[in-house]
Protein backbone atom coordinates (compact mmCIF):
# COMPACT_ATOMS: atom_id res chain seq x y z
CA UNK A 1 0.00 0.00 0.00
CA UNK A 2 1.52 3.31 -1.08
CA UNK A 3 1.73 6.08 1.51
CA UNK A 4 -0.84 8.85 1.23
CA UNK A 5 0.62 12.10 -0.04
CA UNK A 6 -2.26 14.25 1.24
CA UNK A 7 -3.73 14.39 4.74
CA UNK A 8 -7.22 15.13 6.06
CA UNK A 9 -7.94 18.87 6.17
CA UNK A 10 -5.38 19.68 3.50
CA UNK A 11 -6.39 22.08 0.71
CA UNK A 12 -5.95 20.61 -2.76
CA UNK A 13 -6.65 21.61 -6.33
CA UNK A 14 -7.94 19.17 -8.92
CA UNK A 15 -5.70 19.27 -11.99
CA UNK A 16 -7.17 21.49 -14.66
CA UNK A 17 -6.50 18.99 -17.41
CA UNK A 18 -8.59 17.68 -20.31
CA UNK A 19 -6.47 14.71 -21.45
CA UNK A 20 -9.50 13.12 -23.10
CA UNK A 21 -9.28 15.82 -25.78
CA UNK A 22 -5.97 14.38 -26.91
CA UNK A 23 -6.53 10.63 -26.71
CA UNK A 24 -9.24 8.08 -25.98
CA UNK A 25 -9.28 7.70 -22.21
CA UNK A 26 -11.35 6.40 -19.35
CA UNK A 27 -11.40 8.87 -16.45
CA UNK A 28 -13.11 8.92 -13.06
CA UNK A 29 -12.59 12.66 -12.51
CA UNK A 30 -15.74 14.62 -13.38
CA UNK A 31 -15.26 17.66 -15.64
CA UNK A 32 -17.02 20.00 -13.27
CA UNK A 33 -14.34 19.78 -10.55
CA UNK A 34 -11.27 20.11 -12.75
CA UNK A 35 -9.28 23.14 -11.59
CA UNK A 36 -11.41 23.49 -8.43
CA UNK A 37 -10.14 23.84 -4.88
CA UNK A 38 -11.29 21.37 -2.27
CA UNK A 39 -10.38 19.94 1.12
CA UNK A 40 -9.26 16.37 1.74
CA UNK A 41 -11.72 14.59 4.04
CA UNK A 42 -9.82 11.32 4.27
CA UNK A 43 -8.01 8.71 2.26
CA UNK A 44 -10.36 5.89 1.29
CA UNK A 45 -7.70 3.33 0.41
CA UNK A 46 -5.69 2.33 -2.62
CA UNK A 47 -7.29 0.96 -5.75
CA UNK A 48 -5.94 -0.10 -9.15
CA UNK A 49 -5.85 2.90 -11.48
CA UNK A 50 -9.15 2.74 -13.45
CA UNK A 51 -7.52 4.61 -16.35
CA UNK A 52 -5.47 1.46 -16.98
CA UNK A 53 -8.08 -1.15 -16.02
CA UNK A 54 -10.39 0.21 -18.73
CA UNK A 55 -7.82 -0.69 -21.39
CA UNK A 56 -6.79 -3.99 -19.82
CA UNK A 57 -3.32 -2.64 -18.98
CA UNK A 58 -1.48 -3.54 -15.76
CA UNK A 59 -3.00 -1.13 -13.22
CA UNK A 60 -0.88 0.37 -10.47
CA UNK A 61 -2.52 0.86 -7.07
CA UNK A 62 -3.30 4.54 -6.50
CA UNK A 63 -4.44 6.38 -3.38
CA UNK A 64 -8.10 7.41 -3.49
CA UNK A 65 -9.38 10.35 -1.42
CA UNK A 66 -12.73 11.78 -0.44
CA UNK A 67 -12.46 15.49 -1.29
CA UNK A 68 -15.01 18.08 -0.18
CA UNK A 69 -15.88 21.12 -2.34
CA UNK A 70 -18.10 24.11 -1.68
CA UNK A 71 -20.93 23.64 -4.13
CA UNK A 72 -21.91 27.24 -5.14
CA UNK A 73 -18.50 28.27 -6.61
CA UNK A 74 -18.51 25.21 -8.87
CA UNK A 75 -21.74 26.26 -10.61
CA UNK A 76 -21.99 29.97 -9.76
CA UNK A 77 -25.32 29.17 -8.16
CA UNK A 78 -26.69 27.25 -5.22
CA UNK A 79 -27.00 27.74 -1.49
CA UNK A 80 -24.07 28.80 0.68
CA UNK A 81 -22.94 25.93 2.90
CA UNK A 82 -23.94 23.18 0.46
CA UNK A 83 -21.09 20.90 -0.54
CA UNK A 84 -19.97 18.19 -2.96
CA UNK A 85 -18.04 15.14 -1.75
CA UNK A 86 -16.16 13.32 -4.49
CA UNK A 87 -13.82 10.32 -4.75
CA UNK A 88 -10.63 11.44 -6.51
CA UNK A 89 -7.37 9.67 -7.23
CA UNK A 90 -4.10 11.13 -5.96
CA UNK A 91 -2.64 11.69 -9.42
CA UNK A 92 -5.47 14.14 -10.13
CA UNK A 93 -4.72 16.29 -7.07
CA UNK A 94 -2.08 18.95 -6.48
CA UNK A 95 -1.19 21.00 -3.43
CA UNK A 96 -3.14 24.25 -3.30
Amino acid sequence: MSAAHFSPGQRVRVKDARPERIARLHLRTPHYVRGRMGTVERMLGTFPNPEDIAFNRPAEPRALYHVLFDQPPVWNEGQAGDTLLIELFEHWLEEA
Binding site: Y32, L44, L68, Q71, E87, F89
Partner: protein, 199 residues
Protein backbone atom coordinates in the same frame (compact mmCIF):
# COMPACT_ATOMS: atom_id res chain seq x y z
CA UNK B 1 -41.55 -7.24 -19.68
CA UNK B 2 -40.19 -10.37 -21.35
CA UNK B 3 -36.81 -10.16 -23.07
CA UNK B 4 -36.82 -10.27 -26.86
CA UNK B 5 -36.02 -13.70 -28.37
CA UNK B 6 -33.09 -12.29 -30.39
CA UNK B 7 -31.56 -10.86 -27.20
CA UNK B 8 -31.96 -14.17 -25.41
CA UNK B 9 -30.29 -15.96 -28.34
CA UNK B 10 -27.40 -13.48 -28.25
CA UNK B 11 -27.00 -13.91 -24.48
CA UNK B 12 -26.97 -17.70 -24.82
CA UNK B 13 -24.22 -17.51 -27.46
CA UNK B 14 -22.16 -15.20 -25.27
CA UNK B 15 -22.53 -17.42 -22.20
CA UNK B 16 -21.63 -20.52 -24.24
CA UNK B 17 -18.50 -18.79 -25.57
CA UNK B 18 -17.44 -17.65 -22.07
CA UNK B 19 -17.97 -21.15 -20.70
CA UNK B 20 -16.05 -22.73 -23.59
CA UNK B 21 -13.06 -20.48 -22.77
CA UNK B 22 -13.28 -21.30 -19.07
CA UNK B 23 -14.04 -17.67 -18.11
CA UNK B 24 -17.31 -18.44 -16.30
CA UNK B 25 -18.96 -21.59 -15.00
CA UNK B 26 -22.63 -22.39 -14.46
CA UNK B 27 -21.93 -22.19 -10.69
CA UNK B 28 -20.57 -18.63 -11.04
CA UNK B 29 -23.71 -17.57 -12.87
CA UNK B 30 -26.06 -19.19 -10.33
CA UNK B 31 -24.18 -17.61 -7.44
CA UNK B 32 -24.40 -14.13 -9.00
CA UNK B 33 -28.10 -14.67 -9.74
CA UNK B 34 -28.78 -15.67 -6.14
CA UNK B 35 -26.92 -12.63 -4.82
CA UNK B 36 -28.72 -10.30 -7.26
CA UNK B 37 -32.14 -11.73 -6.42
CA UNK B 38 -31.54 -11.55 -2.69
CA UNK B 39 -30.38 -7.93 -2.83
CA UNK B 40 -33.19 -5.50 -2.14
CA UNK B 41 -33.64 -2.29 -0.16
CA UNK B 42 -34.90 -4.16 2.88
CA UNK B 43 -31.30 -5.15 3.62
CA UNK B 44 -30.24 -1.50 3.76
CA UNK B 45 -33.38 -0.69 5.74
CA UNK B 46 -32.50 -3.32 8.37
CA UNK B 47 -28.99 -1.88 8.64
CA UNK B 48 -30.40 1.62 9.20
CA UNK B 49 -32.96 0.48 11.79
CA UNK B 50 -30.30 -1.39 13.71
CA UNK B 51 -28.06 1.69 13.70
CA UNK B 52 -30.97 3.70 15.15
CA UNK B 53 -31.34 1.39 18.15
CA UNK B 54 -27.76 0.18 18.73
CA UNK B 55 -25.06 2.89 19.10
CA UNK B 56 -22.23 0.37 19.08
CA UNK B 57 -23.43 -1.17 15.84
CA UNK B 58 -23.95 2.32 14.41
CA UNK B 59 -20.27 3.09 15.04
CA UNK B 60 -19.28 -0.23 13.39
CA UNK B 61 -21.49 0.54 10.36
CA UNK B 62 -19.93 3.99 9.93
CA UNK B 63 -16.41 2.63 10.37
CA UNK B 64 -16.67 -0.36 8.01
CA UNK B 65 -19.88 -0.64 5.98
CA UNK B 66 -18.69 -3.77 4.19
CA UNK B 67 -18.00 -5.70 7.40
CA UNK B 68 -21.28 -4.44 8.91
CA UNK B 69 -23.24 -5.65 5.87
CA UNK B 70 -21.52 -9.04 6.05
CA UNK B 71 -22.34 -9.32 9.74
CA UNK B 72 -26.01 -9.09 8.70
CA UNK B 73 -25.63 -12.01 6.32
CA UNK B 74 -25.06 -10.06 3.08
CA UNK B 75 -22.47 -11.55 0.74
CA UNK B 76 -20.18 -8.67 -0.19
CA UNK B 77 -17.82 -10.90 -2.17
CA UNK B 78 -16.97 -9.29 -5.48
CA UNK B 79 -18.63 -6.04 -4.41
CA UNK B 80 -16.85 -2.72 -3.98
CA UNK B 81 -16.46 -1.46 -0.39
CA UNK B 82 -19.56 0.07 1.15
CA UNK B 83 -19.33 3.53 2.67
CA UNK B 84 -22.03 4.90 4.96
CA UNK B 85 -22.90 8.63 5.06
CA UNK B 86 -24.29 9.77 8.38
CA UNK B 87 -26.99 12.45 8.22
CA UNK B 88 -26.91 14.85 11.17
CA UNK B 89 -28.85 17.86 12.38
CA UNK B 90 -26.65 20.00 10.14
CA UNK B 91 -25.92 17.87 7.04
CA UNK B 92 -28.10 15.83 4.68
CA UNK B 93 -26.44 13.54 2.10
CA UNK B 94 -27.65 12.88 -1.44
CA UNK B 95 -25.96 10.17 -3.54
CA UNK B 96 -25.51 10.36 -7.30
CA UNK B 97 -23.14 8.85 -9.85
CA UNK B 98 -22.57 11.53 -12.48
CA UNK B 99 -20.22 9.35 -14.55
CA UNK B 100 -22.37 6.21 -14.80
CA UNK B 101 -24.69 4.48 -12.31
CA UNK B 102 -22.59 3.29 -9.34
CA UNK B 103 -25.00 2.15 -6.64
CA UNK B 104 -24.69 -0.10 -3.56
CA UNK B 105 -26.49 -3.00 -5.25
CA UNK B 106 -25.50 -5.58 -2.64
CA UNK B 107 -27.63 -3.85 -0.02
CA UNK B 108 -30.26 -1.96 -2.06
CA UNK B 109 -30.67 -4.07 -5.19
CA UNK B 110 -30.88 -2.62 -8.69
CA UNK B 111 -31.04 1.16 -9.14
CA UNK B 112 -34.32 2.71 -10.28
CA UNK B 113 -34.47 4.16 -13.81
CA UNK B 114 -34.32 7.76 -12.60
CA UNK B 115 -31.02 7.14 -10.79
CA UNK B 116 -29.47 6.24 -14.15
CA UNK B 117 -31.12 9.09 -16.08
CA UNK B 118 -28.92 11.91 -17.38
CA UNK B 119 -31.41 14.36 -15.84
CA UNK B 120 -30.84 13.09 -12.29
CA UNK B 121 -27.10 12.61 -12.82
CA UNK B 122 -26.53 16.12 -14.11
CA UNK B 123 -28.99 17.98 -11.89
CA UNK B 124 -28.24 16.34 -8.53
CA UNK B 125 -24.77 17.91 -8.37
CA UNK B 126 -25.86 21.29 -9.71
CA UNK B 127 -29.28 21.96 -8.18
CA UNK B 128 -29.72 19.33 -5.45
CA UNK B 129 -32.36 21.32 -3.61
CA UNK B 130 -34.55 21.56 -6.71
CA UNK B 131 -34.18 17.79 -7.23
CA UNK B 132 -35.07 17.13 -3.57
CA UNK B 133 -38.13 19.39 -3.90
CA UNK B 134 -39.31 17.34 -6.89
CA UNK B 135 -39.14 14.25 -4.68
CA UNK B 136 -41.32 16.14 -2.20
CA UNK B 137 -38.44 16.56 0.22
CA UNK B 138 -38.31 19.70 2.31
CA UNK B 139 -35.27 19.87 4.56
CA UNK B 140 -35.58 21.53 7.95
CA UNK B 141 -33.98 25.00 8.04
CA UNK B 142 -30.26 25.06 8.74
CA UNK B 143 -29.48 21.74 7.08
CA UNK B 144 -26.72 21.79 4.50
CA UNK B 145 -26.90 19.50 1.50
CA UNK B 146 -23.86 17.36 0.80
CA UNK B 147 -24.02 15.73 -2.62
CA UNK B 148 -21.86 12.62 -2.80
CA UNK B 149 -20.74 11.90 -6.36
CA UNK B 150 -19.93 8.20 -6.48
CA UNK B 151 -17.08 8.51 -8.96
CA UNK B 152 -14.76 5.63 -8.16
CA UNK B 153 -14.30 2.52 -6.04
CA UNK B 154 -16.73 2.89 -3.14
CA UNK B 155 -20.49 2.51 -3.11
CA UNK B 156 -22.41 4.81 -0.77
CA UNK B 157 -25.58 4.58 1.28
CA UNK B 158 -27.14 7.26 3.45
CA UNK B 159 -27.84 6.66 7.12
CA UNK B 160 -30.80 9.02 7.65
CA UNK B 161 -31.77 10.58 10.98
CA UNK B 162 -34.25 8.60 13.03
CA UNK B 163 -37.64 10.25 12.51
CA UNK B 164 -39.39 12.00 15.37
CA UNK B 165 -42.30 10.09 16.88
CA UNK B 166 -40.58 6.69 16.79
CA UNK B 167 -39.45 6.65 20.42
CA UNK B 168 -39.69 3.15 21.84
CA UNK B 169 -40.18 1.50 18.44
CA UNK B 170 -38.41 -1.81 17.84
CA UNK B 171 -36.07 -2.66 14.95
CA UNK B 172 -38.78 -4.34 12.93
CA UNK B 173 -41.12 -1.34 13.16
CA UNK B 174 -38.26 1.00 12.25
CA UNK B 175 -37.17 -1.16 9.30
CA UNK B 176 -40.66 -0.76 7.83
CA UNK B 177 -40.13 3.02 7.60
CA UNK B 178 -36.96 2.91 5.48
CA UNK B 179 -37.14 2.82 1.68
CA UNK B 180 -34.69 2.75 -1.20
CA UNK B 181 -35.16 6.50 -1.71
CA UNK B 182 -34.09 7.18 1.89
CA UNK B 183 -30.91 5.16 1.36
CA UNK B 184 -30.07 7.28 -1.72
CA UNK B 185 -31.06 10.46 0.13
CA UNK B 186 -33.76 11.82 -2.19
CA UNK B 187 -36.30 11.67 0.63
CA UNK B 188 -36.49 11.32 4.39
CA UNK B 189 -38.16 8.63 6.49
CA UNK B 190 -41.28 9.65 8.34
CA UNK B 191 -42.98 7.96 11.31
CA UNK B 192 -46.37 8.22 9.59
CA UNK B 193 -45.24 6.50 6.40
CA UNK B 194 -44.68 2.77 6.23
CA UNK B 195 -42.91 1.59 3.08
CA UNK B 196 -44.78 -0.87 0.90
CA UNK B 197 -42.47 -3.63 -0.25
CA UNK B 198 -43.14 -5.99 -3.08
CA UNK B 199 -42.81 -9.62 -2.02
Amino acid sequence: MDPRPENVALLEKLVAALKARGIVTEEDISLRQTIAERANPETGARMVARAWVDPEWRAFLLRDGTAAAESMGVSMRGNPPLGVLEDTESVHHLVVCTLCSCYPRAIIGYPPHWYKSSAYRSRAVREPRAVLAEFGTVLPAGIQVRVVDSTADYRWMVLPMRPAGTEGWNEEQLTALVSRDHLVGVSLPNAAQKVSRAA
